[in-house]
Amino acid sequence: MSDNLIILIPFFPLLAAILIAILGPKLLKENSHYVTVLAFAASFVCSLMLFFSVQGQVVEEGTSFESVTTLWTWAAVDNAMIDADGHSVPFLIDVTLRSDALTSIMLCMVTFIATLVAIFGAGYMHGDRGYWRFFAYVSLFVFSMTMLVSVSNFLLLFVFWEAVGLCSYLLIGFWYHKPEASAAGKKAFLVNRVGDFGFALAIFLIWINYGTLNFHDYVVDGQVIIPGVFGQMRLGGALPYVQGGMATAICLLLMLGACGKSAQFPLHVWLPDAMEGPTPVSALIHAATMVTAGVYMVTRCTPLFHASPDAQVTVACIGGFTALLAGLIALTQHDLKRVLAYSTVSQLGYMFLALGTGSLAGIVAGMFHLFTHAFFKALLFLGSGSVMHAMGNVIDMRRFGGLRHLMPWTFRTFLVGCLALAGIFPFAGFWSKDAILASVHDRAYPGAHSHDSQDSEHDADHDADQDADDHATHSVALLSADHAGSNQADSYTNIYVWLYRSACFTAFLTAFYTFRAFFLTFYGPQVIPDESGHHAHESPPMMWIPLAILAIFAFLIGFVSELDHKFAHLLTSTPSLAFAGMHDTMQPGGFHMDIAISSSIIAVLGIALAAFLYLGHQREVEAISKLKLVAPLRALSLNKFYLDEIYTWAVVKPLEFLGIIYFWLDRWLVDGLVNLIGKVPVALGSGFRYLQTGLLPFYSLSMVVAMLILLFLGQVLWGGG
């Protein structure tokens, strides 16, 4: 049954996309959303059924479960490569869909949020000229995204990786007559190219080293013909993973791809600009689903990353640094959607930080945060869309305020989203952020975990900074005894200590900037911009009901998933995560009361500071921002650390200069040569041209004279033969 389900899930959105593309402009027009919503809902139902079927089979079949459905063979080349042992390796690409825990979780999340966003979008986009176009693109996107998470092959993963990128480009530039929107679309596309370049190189290296691009084993009659990269044979330890420098190269190139798609430093610059697209798109693509593709990919490639501690620590550093950087930028942005965009970048950084710990706990925490983040970030974006809808497309927080009475439903649901993002108990963000902090903490203080579980009286309020050095030395001693083979990884412990501190600080920043935006938007005196006209009002039910549903999930989903560690148990049955090497790392499920309490205190402190500064008069803000010490820092944050300017001068301008040189070379050297050849006949002709007098007698006389000359010459030269 799951075979059919996994096919139906992408099929419905594809059908919707094709139907709307064909019938939209003439027939469906303002009814296009029915097709999309129905298709997404059908996909969601199928995803849920798949989810439960996978869950049931995991219980039956034990830890590592996958089910592979082959649709057709896309490419088959015999003797494509001779491997190191002299065997010829065929290049075989099947269009293959897989259902396992990771895929089913992603599918449920994507289709659920897509359904709600489509309903919201039907209200938000009402009356737009490109109404049907919007729904055609969104359907195409959901098709690509569902395929992206369910294909079982690096090449097809890359294909749909590009397909979601294309949909993202089309939707960012949806209002293409706006110059900012089309520029933002181009920027997103070009920045993503840098990442995709790395991803493509990584795929080449994987092909060279593993002789296949399939995730699963290629089995004929129960015989493994080609062992897949994440197939049971490799995971079971029967075949080795490439180690050393090559493993690091593969992982770093994969990470470059993930950086592009998931907006990590240094390729994060496209995401805030992508907010030029319609807000439902920001919610669906640039917050909940597409940008998490990088996290999904790194999770899927866990065995590859496991082989390279260097790459893992790089992932963690990129993630931690991006989280901090984006958090700092978000502090001072005026644009509500940009605050949310930087917060997305920051939270994605968190996810990569968790993945970079390399422990099972960390990866589960990263995926868990991806899952919960999708709900509350989609909620926040749709909430901001609702505000934008009411304010006549004004999104600058300085121009509106005090909307809590005007838009009660948006206000309530936005509050839930903010609490979840800030990580307040028992909202969804609390559980996942805590899991991440706990996994990083365990990685930074390897001894502490066992202490915690054994010694429940462990000081909950212990000062991490003070104990850091003690723990570090302690843990190295412990680990060198336990895992003699993994000494190299432990030389990074110090880095993880710093990453843990930075993550805690980022948690504080997150709570602060979230509630800064919240207070600026919903509290203070009621200010409404002129653009909204005189009918600023709460959005219609079609828009706030999806908000309410998302708010319920943002409240509950973390708690429900954490019950009994259901999420972790299911996710660890994914083949990529269920292999021998992985089980030696820290197991998920350790709920750390001390970390939970300290992170809650941090979050509450952040909210309190935001309340102190931005509730009521903003005298303090003005006073602080005028301080000599703060002003340049504030400018730095407001201008996004001048990264866009740096890229402009370091990358864009030199390339433009090169482009000018090439243009001139092409114009004057290449074209010049061609034109020169063209000019020769013209020059020759210019002499004879003057013989064309337009006088018929002249022509006839010249004919006769020429004929006489020829006859005469004939006589003289050939003797009148």
Binding site: R689, Y690, L691, Q692, T693, G694, L695, L696, P697, S700, L701, V704
Partner: protein, 146 residues
């Protein structure tokens, strides 16, 4: 008369026809006259072809001439139609009126002043409609059809 002498006579007449035609073609500017001169050159050539054919006792000369006459007839139809069209456009048969098809930037050839042609009687012959009394319209009668 011997065959050679006969051939000489024919060739002489043919070359005279050709030379006359060529001279006329070169020095006259009237479209129709130029056309007639070209025809005359053609006839001169045809005559010499026939003479050679007879001399060699070979029919291909005659055959070629029949072919020439056929082609010349077609050519005459086209040429006269063109002449008519050109003449309607410029109002005169003078070839010099068409020198504006020359290369751009080239100065036109300008005649010396030509004495005005003596006005001819403009009564052009027309066919009388058969069977009915023609309604004689003086205007129509004297209108130039050229």
């Amino acid at each position: 008369m011997s065959e050679t002498a006969l051939l000489q006579n024919y060739l002489l007449v043919g070359s005279i026809l050709f030379a006359l035609g060529l001279t006329g073609f070169l020095i006259r500017r009237n479209l129709i006259v130029m056309f007639l001169c070209a025809e005359m050159m053609l006839q001169g050539v045809s005559l010499s072809l026939i003479a050679w054919g007879r001399y060699h006792n070979d029919w291909s000369g005659q055959m070629l001439v029949i072919f020439i006459i056929t082609v010349a007839a077609c050519e005459a139809g086209i040429a006269l139609a063109l002449v008519l069209a050109l003449c309607r456009k410029s109002g005169s048969l003078d070839i010099v009126n068409w020198q504006n098809v020359r290369e751009e930037g080239r100065m036109p050839y300008i005649d010396q002043e030509v004495p005005a042609e003596a006005m001819e009687s403009e009564a052009w012959p027309t066919l009388t409609p058969a069977g009915i009394e023609p309604a004689t319209d003086q205007q129509e009668l004297y209108r130039s059809n050229v």
